[in-house]
Symmetry: C2
Subunit: 153 residues, 2 copies
DNA sequence: GTTGTATTTTTGAGTAATTCACGATAATGG
DNA sequence: CCATTATCGTGAATTACTCAAAAATACAAC
């Protein structure tokens, strides 16, 4: 299973390093993680790593197209390995957890705006906002307005 | 014309102050401005103001629902006064300029995901990415990869 | 296996955008 | 006009990164 990750890096023209493999593994088990979460995860196996190195790796992998970066409003950047299809996300407005949402209609959604002010449109990004199952339960008490920082466990 | 702005603040339960009026005016002439741009604009009439005060006003107005905050990836937060309808945005991938895009289909777009992992969905946010008319022209030379910071004049 | 070199990582400092705290000031109801 | 709050201004702090340079490492060539 590590072989597949090594090949993935190799194919992208990147050197195979412990940090990169560990990061891809971490992203496999916890998609949509942010840099800080990944850092804490990597620290277990690689105690000498740093948050800057994690940002470094994330930047390299993103630039090489191995992972994808998403930036929901009010949250630090999240990363995911699912890059082959054009899918979208639901973000929990309460806890900030994220889940994948398949494209609404086939690959290219019904998203060709009628009037685009002369802009050429290359890509449509859809973010749904709502409540995750867990936060639906605990929505009897007042919801914290701005707490979408920690990823739900 | 100022009367209308005053009433708008009043109705939202906010006190009518020079800073808030000036900010709403500035947002009228330049929608999708960021805090820094608004600050420079306000400084002309209100030399004693500060960037923190602008953030303060922006926060208050956003919380009261008088303005809306949008946060495109890779850009500081932008603000707009058009809040009564559910519209979307096109962001220029090169210069970061933003234009409004009317809802793809009526008020509620064709955006009900088939599978939402148990999330209740309250709102769909659509961001189109492309090139503005001006940047389409100047796209013969290599485009800067990460320069969507300044708003287009 | 050893070596050379370019890439990566580490370490440290720096930056942008925003938030927090709190005394000073100003807006509104009475 | 006055009192009471809301708001503003000032300064410090925070978050999420980016940048730079030295130390370590991966990998191709021998």
């Amino acid at each position: 299973m590590q072989k597949e990750l090594k090949y993935e890096l190799h194919r992208a023209g990147l050197r195979v390093t412990g940090g990169r493999l560990a990061l891809l593994e971490a992203l496999r088990s916890r998609p949509h993680s942010d840099a800080e979460t990944l850092f804490r995860s990597l620290k277990v196996k690689l105690p000498r790593t740093s948050i800057q190195s994690v940002h470094n790796v994330l930047g390299d992998l993103t630039a090489a197209g191995v992972i994808r970066r998403i930036e929901p409003a009010g949250s630090p950047a999240r990363y995911e390995r699912r890059i082959l299809d054009n899918h979208h996300h639901v973000v929990c407005a309460s806890c900030g957890s994220i889940a994948d949402v398949d494209c609404v209609i086939g690959d290219a959604p019904c998203l060709t705006p009628s009037e685009s002010s002369g802009y050429t449109i290359e890509r449509a990004e859809v973010t749904f906002w709502g409540l995750c199952p867990s936060c639906q339960q605990s929505s009897h008490s007042a919801q914290s307005r701005k707490a979408p920082t920690k990823e739900k466990k």
